[in-house]
């Protein structure tokens, strides 16, 4: 019953479709999904670590001081966030012929787009753990259960966002362009390339501290939590978990609610 309700078969098939068709007829194929973060790490390391001399925070208690690791543990989840949303936004409009000809629960389209990307993230994270172990000699494997929990929460959070943007994009195609514009600044306003303590805590904007304003961005919590688990090698604080769980539940609920509201006329507007 639950399997039926969650459309497991349909999700599996659509996810498989996305994954299988993604690199069909390209010579490098899946190498592309490894090349992408690799190039990003090299470029960002050069610019931010070498040119701009940004110091990564020291891992506490791990004692790590590698900018590449510092960057990767948040960059990979961030890239998942970006590509999931970009692909999910178009997932309904791009499947117009399907929407207008066959009835099936529409929410599986953005969800499977996110799922396909999530499977790539799993592989990337596995590679990252091996890299950390090989280069830094750290045993991060004990943290895998915590990491998986964090990733599962991020998956649900992203599905919630994907539901919102994909449904809204049917009615306003501006959403996909807006996302293209918004995602780049969003990355710079999230502690991925630099540690959170570089955001001034003593300055204020209209009576509110910069740091407080900055922390309104839900991605800050995720970046911090990922960095806690994989770089510092400690559990995120209870408040952090609470914030993450709350945001996830709210976004997922609102996402489904919006999607449900916009679903009936999708076949006409798509």
């Amino acid at each position: 019953m639950l399997v039926r309700f969650l459309q497991v078969d349909l999700l599996i098939n659509l996810t498989r479709r996305d994954l299988r068709s993604k690199y069909k007829r390209s010579a490098l194929g899946w190498t592309w999904s490894v090349l992408n973060p690799l190039v990003a790490v090299v470029v960002y390391s050069a610019v931010f670590s070498v040119f701009l001399r940004i110091q990564p925070s020291t891992g506490d208690p791990s004692g790590l001081r590698s900018y590449a690791v510092f960057l990767l543990v948040t960059l990979l989840p961030w890239q998942f966030h970006v590509t999931s949303l970009t692909e999910a936004t178009r997932s309904i409009t791009a499947n117009g012929p399907l929407i207008t000809k066959i009835w099936f629960p529409r929410w599986v389209l953005p969800t499977s787009a996110v799922l396909a990307r999530f499977l790539t993230l799993l592989v990337e994270m596995a590679v990252l753990l091996l890299l950390i172990a090989a280069i830094e000699g750290h045993m991060t494997f004990a943290w895998i259960p915590v990491l998986l929990l964090l990733m599962a929460l991020q998956l649900l959070f992203t599905v919630g966002l994907a539901l919102m943007v994909s449904a809204a994009n049917v009615y306003f195609r501006d959403i996909q362009h807006f996302l293209g514009v918004a995602l780049a600044p969003w990355m710079f306003l999230t502690p991925i390339l630099y540690p959170l303590n570089m955001v001034p805590a003593d300055r204020e904007f209209l009576g509110v501290g910069y740091r407080t304003l900055y922390q309104l961005n839900p991605m800050v919590s995720w970046a911090k939590a990922y960095r806690n688990v994989l770089y510092d090698l400690r559990l995120p604080s209870a408040e952090r978990w609470l914030a993450i769980a709350t945001v996830t539940v709210v976004v997922l609920a609102v996402g489904f609610w919006i999607f449900h509201r916009l679903e009936p006329r999708m076949a006409e507007e798509v």
């Binding site: 349909l10 599996i12 098939n13 659509l14 068709s21 069909k24 306003f172 076949a267």
Partner: protein, 412 residues
Amino acid sequence: MTASPAVSLNDLGKKFRLTHDRNWTLKATMLAGHRTRYEEFWALRNLSLEIRHGQTFGIIGGNGSGKSTLLKVLAGILRPDEGSVAVDGRLSALLELGAGFHPELTGRENIYLNGAILGFTARDIRSRFEEIVGFAELERFIDEPVRNYSSGMYVRLGFSVAIHVEPEILLVDEVLAVGDLTFQKRCLERFAQLKADGRTILVVSHDLDMVGWLCDQTAWIQQGTLRATGPSSEVIDRFATGTEPGEPSNRIGRAARPAFERLSTQDLVKSVELVDINGHPTDTVGSGQPACIRVRYDGQTAGEPVTVALGLYRADGTHVASINSGATTRGLTPKDRSATGTDRSETLVEVEYLVPALPVQPGTYELSVALHDASMQRVLERHTHLLRFGVTSTGADPQNGLVALGGTWEAK
């Protein structure tokens, strides 16, 4: 069979907005506020209809009459703006074949994908996989990406997946216009099989012959409302002639056609069959091929010698030919049965009308049978539209019209 109807439409209405200046952007919407101008257009209005379980139901109407909108509302793709739709049972819609196919995936992968979209589990599909591939006749190509498929192969695979979902209610929208004749025939056979299994089938089509052949009941939709509903032959007839109920038909020699007749035990005529050259009953015959009509009647009860009269009509009602039994069989009584070799029963008389090469074009035909007295003065019994059969294409050259001339071309 449940008491509740398979499909029930209650005062259904579906409107579309015809926007003159479409607001595709947020900015335009913000600026226009609530002043977005659009015209409302009711594609369906005040439509009430009930389709019982096990019925084969045709929906006919001109272009833009709302037929396809109706199917989309039934399929759940469009939400009605007025009234209600109640569907009882698992429903599958064949609105476009292969709509869910991904060109880069192989036929095999697409079967699983399409099946999942249609509500199948992987296990369901695995158990029917061979059947699906076999029906589509794609055994050799099943691991090729479907972008390499011909349009015929694409459509065959789409049909095959959709038909093997085994829906309780099947919606079909003009999908049989595609594919070659042999495949069309197999599709129709499959529909007939579903029908025999007691499934409910809704067919939207411009092919009146097909609707007449397949459907027990038909609804005629015009400008989004129900114009007529009832037995297929009646509704199709009214649609084809454009007549109102009660109005005399404007076609010469045709009263309003009754529903397909069934013989009762009291009737003199016991059976009318189309038989092949080996004497086995069949329901199709090739154009230009030998055809034989076998009529059995109760000669004992008739009590007098009778003349058998056959009337051949095309499914749209066009009169093709009428034949009276010839001198060799006229006035045959049961006593003479030894002469014809019939020995099924003491009282039955069997006559056969043999056509060496049936000279009609492919299509659906109907046969009327009447029994007269030997002198053709009195009608003893009359059954209109008693037998329906298909004439299939056999010649390589496509032809049109009513008769198959059977001529040959020669270069001089």
